[in-house]
């Protein structure tokens, strides 16, 4: 169906992406994920300062017909939360890789990135 995948990001099997700039990782969900969820109606608020491990639940996202957990792609401290998407989660449907980012994590262990997929690999993974 042609889901959008952006070069230069890292991807998880649960359809999160992380963009790395220095030791900061910006986290969101992919175009595929937002399409599968449908109209997103709720994103649970995240506490700034939380220390989280890769694979742990970062937050919960909800559409009318589905709800799923969003897992942290990397370990570290949550240093910023996108309050705009908490208020208006439908932004994620419109712009999952841009304005729809969810949180920024201070990456503790860059080695974890090696476990994640690159754009091409993720594209193949979600090819229907």
């Amino acid at each position: 169906m042609g889901y959008k995948v952006i070069e230069g990001l890292y991807y998880t099997k649960n359809d999160e992406w992380v963009k790395v700039e220095g030791d900061i990782g910006t986290v969101g969900i992919t175009d595929y994920a937002q399409d599968k969820l449908g109209d997103i109606v709720y994103l649970e608020d995240i506490e700034k300062g939380n220390k989280i491990k890769a694979g742990e639940t970062l937050t919960t996202i909800e559409s009318v017909k589905a709800a799923s957990d969003i897992y942290a792609p990397v370990s570290g401290e949550v240093i910023e939360v996108n309050s705009e998407v908490i208020k208006e989660p439908s932004i994620i449907n419109k712009d999952p890789y841009g304005k729809g980012w969810i949180a920024k994590i201070k990456i503790e262990n860059p080695d974890e990135l090696k476990e994640l997929m690159k754009a091409e690999e993720y594209s193949n993974y979600r090819k229907e």
């Binding site: 109606v41 589905a66 957990d69």
Partner: protein, 442 residues
Amino acid sequence: MRYIPNTKTDEEEMLKEIGVSSFNDLLKDIPEEVILKKTLDIPTLSEEELTEKIFKISKKNLDFRFLKPLIGAGAYRHFVPEAVKAVISREEFYTSYTPYQPEISQGNLQSMFEYQTHLSRLTGMDVIIPSIYDGASATAEATLMAMRLTHKNKVITSSLLHPHYLETVRTYTAPHQTEIHIAEYKNGLSDLKSIESMIDENTAAVIVQSPNFFGGIEDIESIARIAHEKGTLIIQVIAESLSLGLLKSPAEMDVDIIAGEAQSFGMDLNLGGPYNGYLGSKMKYIRQIPGRIAGETTDKEGRRGYVMTFRAREQDIRREKATSNICSNHALNIVAGNVYLSLLGKNGIKKIAELNTKATHYLRTKLIETGKFSGFKYPFFNEFVLEVKDKERIKDKLINNGFIPPFDLGTYYPGLEGYMLFAVTEILTKKDLDFIVNLLER
């Protein structure tokens, strides 16, 4: 068999279409050795034989239609208007399924919404879940909800919570390392000092029933203040919802979560069920509240309609992460409650609650005046506790004269073996009450 329309010929034709020669060919996945070889030994009765059999069995009960209860204890005989029964006997209500297809379920959905409105206006709560099985399971669900909201696992309950509700809370919380502390009571009401002394930083909620199991009207507002000062939620349990017609609403007393039993709103006693539990909360807790809820919306042409909403909390979507496993509830009793409250209206609910209160106070006053009874004094709604000297004789006297005797508190409260819990509803006239006083005086 009268409930199966297809004839042998029909079945043969269908088996042919299916492409098998006999019915047994359709069972080929079932291991031969487990298929029953004999017909189950159960007789078949005609409609008349069945009716006669069950009517005969029913005669082994007392003739309850003409026995007026002096007992409540979580199940109240109020007058149920025939209009309620007429509505819930309509097949469109009682033979339909959960409203999964809103386009052909607006009757049930709008009724849910109206009933949510009734309860919201009675309790002041923004979110009303119109049906959880009963008051006990609703209380248990409210407890789990408070634990999820606070991430704490200690709860404090008043010792005047209905004993069945408390037992149900224990069952539901058993797998979750929950500490349940029981606060003491004093003179028929919860002891605020006892509650306060038990709250610590690990306390998820304080659970207080009002009117309590003894009928006592609790000072919920003060308890809420104590709880909130210590960062704890307060759950008010309402086992006799008729009291809402008279008393200050939970929202006015800053209650966080309510768990109630709506049996008094148009439901017969039926030996204890089905009644209809409900939950309510402040809006900010909606994602942790369990159970179905209806919401208003529109279709493409802008026509108003109702749907089940906030569905992502439920088991069919969230599976093991759902707020509860509840799906089927006591939906038909939502309709019953809706009809009942619509008939009563603003003035009716008030009048009937007042009548219950006055009749109950009348009986207590008259019984005390006989000099044969004593008991602690506390504000109560339609139940009160008295010490009764010759309990067994009084029970017999009452039942022989057409009244179901009061609840024997010794069953659940060691130390109160000589005490009984009297309940009075509008079913009992002044004449009945005078007769009872006269009977018990002798």
